[in-house]
């Protein structure tokens, strides 16, 4: 149900942009106003959210330790999974962000007869997630060729790396295939695994379908229909140079693509997609486990009612005396 709602929502978005740009001829709205709006929402929203998190205090240092602590000199500690200084924590974070290290450890629990619990390896999600995120990033970077004139060498180099098949023209990019495959997998696992289906919200399917639609429209434009690349590039460069232009004759596929991207980036700061920023601020991962070495300060360390030894001795003085225990006040 949630999947269906999300799917329909994306279809509706496609129709809106098709009708809007093609039939109603609102190309200026779709090529200029909406993208500007979306970019502003994205930037302000993202920054706002991150600042809001960053301003919240971290009262306690609570890293999740996943390895041996640093204690006695002859015991081998695990400097990354249980970092004892900022460098370890930095490496831990880098591995988390770049390689999804925690997800790599994923297991699948099965209950067999006996009863016997078995924990099998389960790296599919890791693989799917990694392929998806990296493809997304590379595709995003590749798009800079549309915003920049001349195209920087590093983008060309990336394209060369990414392109592996040449069936006539143009070159097929690996990431195009990967992203479609990975997103499809991510959707399917939400639909087929009963546990995941149970927890998945509209907000979980919607970005997946949206990204899938973006990828598919992009692929259609690149490999199957001829879009006016020069015109598209004019629009893109125009937007980023604050000198927007809308040439004629741009295919409606492009407007759909651009509109969906606009929706995605405006939706971004409102949604779970903010995990992109949040992962850097997760106190169980980005802190060193050195609480016993360096005192962590809680900015709001509360005053609490304590029970002092004097009060305790006052209450129990007699029994303590009888038991022959030392007393502060005789």
């Amino acid at each position: 149900m949630n999947a269906l709602i999300s799917f329909v929502a994306v279809i509706v978005l496609i129709i809106i942009s098709f009708v809007g740009a093609q039939t109603l001829g609102l190309s200026y709205l779709f090529a200029v106003i909406i993208p500007y709006l979306a970019i502003s929402i994205f930037i302000f929203g993202f920054v706002y959210r991150v600042i809001k998190w960053a301003r919240a205090p971290v009262p306690f240092r609570i890293p999740t330790t996943c390895g041996q602590q640093k204690s006695l000199s002859w015991i081998k500690n695990n400097p990354i999974e249980n970092p004892h200084n900022w460098l370890g924590a930095f490496i831990r974070m880098a591995l988390e962000v770049l390689l999804f290290r925690s997800l790599f450890k994923n297991t699948k629990t099965t209950l067999k007869d006996g009863p016997r619990l078995v924990y099998g390896m389960n790296q599919l999600l890791w693989l799917g997630g990694l392929l998806f995120h990296w493809s997304f990033l590379i595709i995003f970077i590749r798009h800079f060729r549309f915003f920049m004139e001349p195209v920087p060498w590093c983008i060309k180099a990336l394209e060369n790396l990414d392109g592996f098949l040449q069936i006539g023209l143009p070159v097929v990019f690996m990431t195009d295939i990967f992203i479609v495959a990975a997103v499809t997998y991510l959707v399917l696992r939400r639909l087929t695994d009963s546990k995941l289906r149970y927890i998945s919200l509209v907000a979980d399917f919607f970005p997946l379908f949206l990204i899938l639609a973006i990828a598919v429209t992009g692929i259609l434009m690149r490999y199957f229909t001829k879009v006016d690349i020069i015109g598209v590039k004019d629009i893109a460069v125009g937007i980023f140079s604050f000198n927007p232009v809308v040439p004629d004759g741009i295919s409606s596929l492009f407007f759909i693509h651009l509109f969906l991207v606009s929706v995605l980036i405006s939706y971004f700061p409102l949604s779970k997609l903010m995990h992109m920023g949040g992962i850097f601020l997760s106190p169980t991962r980005n802190l060193a486990n050195n609480n016993r070495v360096v005192r962590h300060i809680n900015p709001w360390n509360p005053k609490v009612k304590m029970h002092t030894y004097e009060e305790y001795e006052d209450e129990f003085r007699e029994v303590m005396r009888e038991a022959g225990m030392p007393l502060d006040k005789e």
Partner: protein, 538 residues
Amino acid sequence: MSETLKQEELVQIDYKPPGTGWMDTKPDIRKGKINWGAVQKSVEYLDLPNPRKWSPTDDDWQLPKDWKKIILEGMRERIEKFRTFQVFMDICVRCGACADKCHFFIGSGDPKNMPVLRAELLRAVYRKEFTLAGKLMGKMAGARDLTEDVLKEWFFYFFQCTECRRCSVFCPYGIDTAEITMMGRELLSLVGLEIDWITTPAANCFRTGNHLGIQPHGFQDSVDFAVDDLEDIIGIKVEAPVNKKGAEILFVVPSADYFGDPHYFGFLGYLALFHEIGLDYTFSSYASEGGNFGLFHSNQMMKRLNSKIYMEAKRLGVKWVLGGECGHMWRVINQYMDTMNGPADFLEVPKSPITGTVFENARSTKMVHITEFTADLIKNGKLKLDKSRNDQWRITFHDSCNPARAMGILEEPRYIINSVANNFFEMPENCIKEQTFCCGGGAGLGTEENMEMRLRGGLPRANAVKYVHDKHGVNVLTCMCAIDKAVLPTLIDYWVSGVQIGSVHELVGNALVIKGEKERTLDMRSDPLPGKEETEDV
């Protein structure tokens, strides 16, 4: 209660979620799956809100009139105070990696015991009240109104989480459902939804210095008993000072160590060890609890209970503090104590008076874990150990959640066990160290009325013990946690049978060759040592 629950029935676990969506499925609140509400007296003693006589099985939980306002205000306050709370509410992508990592889910199949859904219980209300998307789109955005039923569901599921942090190991963002549970419990406490097995020990501890409510003379008695019992075993009457000013070290143990079985055998081990090395230490009756049920209640309660350790160290004028075998106690000491009640600048950086080793890793807190201390002694050859005195045991080791995932003290106990005993066998890899499974009764849930959930939640742990029991004939499960030692006997008996629970320092006590001891025939349990069975009877 465990007798009436049939194993065959308990393992019929259906991992398929029910047909109704989770927002429309009500929890099955009944004995076996809940903990009783806190008694009025304890709530009053600690000046907590809404003291009354109530039970979670009642229909009317007698909430204060403006309960909703209180909860929402409490949420707002915590959102501002805890980055964890904010970030964890915002960034979960419901990838499900944590889903089958929770022992309560594995053992019950209840989808709301998947960490992600446990957190969603709070998150859905958070979305409704504190996010734009939730306000605009309501249920479509996964938002939910806070109603009395929702509150009851919180109570049910936040007291079905042992704050073990296993889920956090697997989450790609480190989302720690234990932290979310802690927030949930703090909120519940604001309207008087407390459980007795947390609040009463906390009240006891606040008053008498320990969870069990043992008064000072009772504490003195327990220590004297232990000294006598140890004398029967080793033939030496050891010193065990209490409240002694000017001692070098204050030694703080969880109260179960001197009052519970099998903890007590480890307590005898400590006494024997300290005698042998001539340690200048003292117990304190005022700080006679290392454990801290405040951790399971609220950050404030944790601070209130924990404050005694430093205050007492100061009053007694010791140089540093040594801590006994306990799990959640060490989470508090490692991650909270210094922040809450430090700086302990009146103490010195801990230095072993026997080996001269300076414990740099406790430079600021000034508190050393007993296994760090003992491992150092053994490594430096300061102890004479006869491993064969542990030959009656085939041993495995259970990493307790907090020492493993909130500290990382993994190798010290293993080094000690391997130095004092011959037969050590690890449980399978996915069940130890940072992936260890909870005993099922941590975080205040180790009660009789919660037995069904304990047995269910303890299944993964017990199952791994069964594995090494069948494969290697393991007959003792050692651990260094007072809650473990209290709840594991029932659990292991139920699922495995034929495996005892023991302490690391029980094994140390057995193996330790003490100067001037009588010919040892008994172990710390006063059972005959291997090879001494006959001579015993003559």
